[in-house]
C-alpha cells in the first residue's frame, strides 16, 4: 500500500485488498485510519495508535520502521470485525529534495501463525517458531541490556560533570563572598576614618570659628587663630594620607620587581640612623635563606620603613632596642618578620584596631597611627597578609606574607 504523508491511501495491491476485505477502487483516496479503524469491541485495541506512531517515525526520521507483531482487527463488509495480526514495515520514498513523498506500507498477515501458537496446534511448528523467536528475543534482550548499560554510563558521566560544575560554581560563589567580606571591611574602615579622623578636625574648626565670631579680645583671637591653623594643617595631613591609601586600593597597574632585601633594609637603616644612634638600637638581619623578593619597590621601602621605625618608636624605656629582621620561604610565599623587644601590646584588647588609620595605642608624642594602615593597604593590595604577635612588656613581632614568589 502506498500512502501520502497525511495518511491518504494512494494505491493498494490486490493481495492487500484481499487480506483486508477491501476493494482497491473503494479505498484509494481515503484516509488510512478511516478504512482501518480500531475494533470498537476490543477495549485493548492499539493498532491505530501504534501504526500512527510508526508512520510518524518514518516521516520524522526518513528511514524505514519495522513494527512489532501488531493486532489490528479488520472490518468485514458485514460490519463485524475479524481478529488479525500483522507484521508491518513502513518505508519512506524520498524525492530529490530529500523530502518524504510517499510511504510504502507493507503488512504481512501473520494471524494464522499467531493463532496456531495461541491454540497450541501443530506443536512442532509452533515450538520451532517459538525457539527461533526465543533466540531472537534473547539476542534482543542482550542488546537492550547493553544499551541500558551504555545509557547508565552516560548518565553517570553527566552526573559527574554536573557535580563538577556545581563544585566550580560553589567555589566561585565562595570567592565572591570573600571579596565582598573584604570590601565590606574596607568600607567599614573608611566609615571609621570619616567618622573619627575627618569629622574631628572639621568639628574643631567649626567650633573655633564660632568662638572667633563671638570674641572681641584681640589677644584671645590670635590664640584661636593659631589653633585654627594647626587644626587645618592636621585636617589636610589626614586628608592626604587618606587619598594616598585610596590610590593604593585603586592602583591595579603597580608592578612587582626583584628586590634585594639586605639592600633595602640597609637603606631604611640609613634613613633612621639618628634614631638608631640615639636609642643605641641593635639591628640584626638574616636574609641568607631568602635574599630576594618580588614586590613593588615603593611598597617594600615604605613597609620596611614603617615596621622598623615602629619598632624604634615603641621601644622599652628599660632596655636598648634589639630588632631582628628575617625572611623565610614556604611554598610560593615569602614571610618577612620584624621582631622587637619593645613595649609590646595587649592584643586581646587591640587586635581589631591594630591596622586602622590613626589608631594609636601608646601615649607617645610621635604616635600618629597611620603607618600600619598604609602598610596593610599595600600588602593586601598585592594579595599578601600582615599580622602581629605581641606580649606586653616583652616585645612585638610583625609578619608579612608575600605571595607568588616562585618566579
Amino acid at each position: 500500500m502506498i500512502i501520502l504523508e497525511d495518511f491518504t491511501i494512494v494505491d493498494v495491491s490486490n493481495a492487500y485488498a484481499e487480506a483486508t476485505f477491501t476493494k482497491r477502487e473503494e479505498v484509494i483516496g481515503k484516509n488510512l485510519f478511516e478504512v482501518f479503524p480500531d475494533n470498537p469491541n476490543d477495549l485493548k485495541a492499539d493498532g491505530v495508535a501504534n501504526l500512527k506512531e510508526s508512520l510518524k517515525y518514518v516521516l520524522r526520521n526518513k528511514v524505514s520502521h519495522t513494527m512489532a507483531i501488531q493486532k489490528h482487527d479488520v472490518r468485514r463488509p458485514t460490519g463485524a470485525f475479524e481478529e488479525k495480526y500483522w507484521s508491518t514495515v513502513n518505508k519512506p520514498v524520498l524525492n530529490s529534495q530529500n523530502e518524504v513523498e510517499y510511504i510504502i506500507h507493507r503488512a504481512e498477515d501473520v494471524t494464522e501463525f499467531i493463532k496456531l501458537k495461541q491454540e497450541k496446534h501443530q506443536f512442532e511448528l509452533v515450538s520451532t517458531a517459538m525457539e527461533d523467536r526465543l533466540q531472537k528475543m534473547e539476542i534482543e534482550i542482550l542488546q537492550r541490556s547493553k544499551e541500558i548499560q551504555k545509557l547508565n554510563q552516560e548518565l553517570d558521566l553527566k552526573v559527574l560533570e554536573r557535580t563538577k560544575h556545581l563544585d566550580e560554581a560553589n567555589s566561585i560563589i565562595q570567592e565572591n563572598m570573600n571579596a565582598l567580606t573584604f570590601q565590606k571591611k574596607q568600607l567599614e574602615d573608611f566609615c571609621n576614618i570619616l567618622s573619627h579622623n575627618l569629622r574631628a578636625p572639621l568639628v574643631n574648626i567649626s567650633m573655633i570659628i564660632e568662638m572667633l565670631a563671638e570674641n572681641s579680645n584681640d589677644i584671645e583671637k590670635g590664640g584661636l587663630l593659631d589653633k585654627l591653623n594647626s587644626t587645618t594643617r592636621n585636617l589636610s595631613e589626614i586628608f592626604n594620607e587618606l587619598v594616598e591609601s585610596i590610590q593604593i586600593l585603586q592602583d591595579n597597574e603597580i608592578e612587582s620587581e626583584e628586590l634585594d632585601l639586605a639592600f633595602h633594609v640597609q637603606k631604611v637603616i640609613e634613613n633612621l640612623q639618628i634614631e638608631i644612634d640615639q636609642s643605641k638600637a641593635l639591628i640584626e638581619t638574616n636574609f641568607d635563606a631568602v635574599p630576594k623578593v618580588y614586590f613593588p619597590n615603593n611598597y617594600l621601602k615604605s613597609t620596611l620603613q614603617n615596621l622598623i621605625s615602629n619598632a624604634l618608636k615603641y621601644r622599652s624605656p628599660e632596655r636598648s632596642p634589639i630588632i631582628k629582621i628575617a625572611a623565610e620561604r614556604i611554598d610560593d610565599s615569602i614571610f618577612i618578620s620584624v621582631a622587637d623587644n619593645g613595649l609590646g601590646l595587649d592584643l586581646e584588647k587591640h587586635k581589631d584596631d591594630l591596622f586602622k588609620i590613626r589608631k594609636i595605642f601608646h601615649s607617645h608624642p610621635e604616635a600618629k597611627g597611620f603607618g600600619l594602615f598604609l602598610t596593610k593597604s599595600q600588602v593586601e593590595s598585592m594579595g599578601g597578609r600582615i599580622w602581629m604577635e605581641s606580649s606586653p612588656g616583652i616585645g612585638s613581632t610583625f609578619y608579612i606574607q608575600l605571595i607568588n614568589q616562585n618566579r
Binding site: 568639628v203 601608646h362 601615649s363 597611627g369
Partner: protein, 137 residues
C-alpha cells in the same frame, strides 16, 4: 554665680578640650574641670579619689576614640568601679562618630545618659550643666 560643679572631660583632642575649657570659663557654670587624655588616666583618677566626694565629678564627658584605653574600655572599668564611688555621676558620650554601630553599642550601657555627636553646641552644654545644678538643689 559660680556653681559647684566638677566636670570631667576625657578626650585626647587638644583643640576640643581647649574649646570646652573656654566655654566653661566664659559661662561660669563650673569652677572646676579635670581633663584626661585617655581612659586609663581618668579611671586612675576616679579610683584614687573614690571616697573623696568633693573631688569626684558631677558629670563625665567621654570621648570614644583615644589611645591606651578608649571610651569603651573606660566604660567597662567604670562600671566595675561605680559601686565604690562616693558620688552619683552623670555620664555623656561625646564623640565625632556618626556610626550607627557606635550608637547601638552605647545604648547597651545604662550608665550612658546620652550620646552627643560633636560639634557640641554651646547651648546644649550649658543646658546639661544647668540641669545638674537643678537636680542638686
Amino acid at each position: 554665680m559660680i556653681a559647684q560643679n566638677n566636670i570631667m572631660l576625657v578626650d585626647d583632642d587638644e583643640i576640643f578640650t581647649f574649646i570646652i575649657k573656654k566655654i566653661i570659663e566664659e559661662s561660669q557654670l563650673s569652677n572646676h574641670i579635670d581633663i584626661f587624655i585617655n581612659g586609663l588616666e581618668a579611671i586612675n583618677f576616679l579610683e584614687a579619689n573614690a571616697t573623696a566626694a568633693e573631688k569626684l565629678p558631677e558629670v563625665i564627658f567621654l570621648d570614644l576614640s583615644m589611645p591606651v584605653l578608649d571610651g569603651w574600655g573606660f566604660l567597662e572599668e567604670y562600671i566595675e568601679l561605680k559601686p565604690k564611688l562616693a558620688k552619683k555621676i552623670t555620664l555623656y558620650i561625646i564623640s565625632t562618630s556618626v556610626s550607627p554601630l557606635d550608637f547601638e553599642k552605647a545604648k547597651k550601657y545604662s550608665d550612658v545618659t546620652d550620646f552627643i555627636v560633636k560639634p557640641m553646641a554651646k547651648e546644649r552644654f550649658v543646658e546639661i550643666i544647668k540641669e545638674l545644678s537643678r537636680d542638686k538643689n
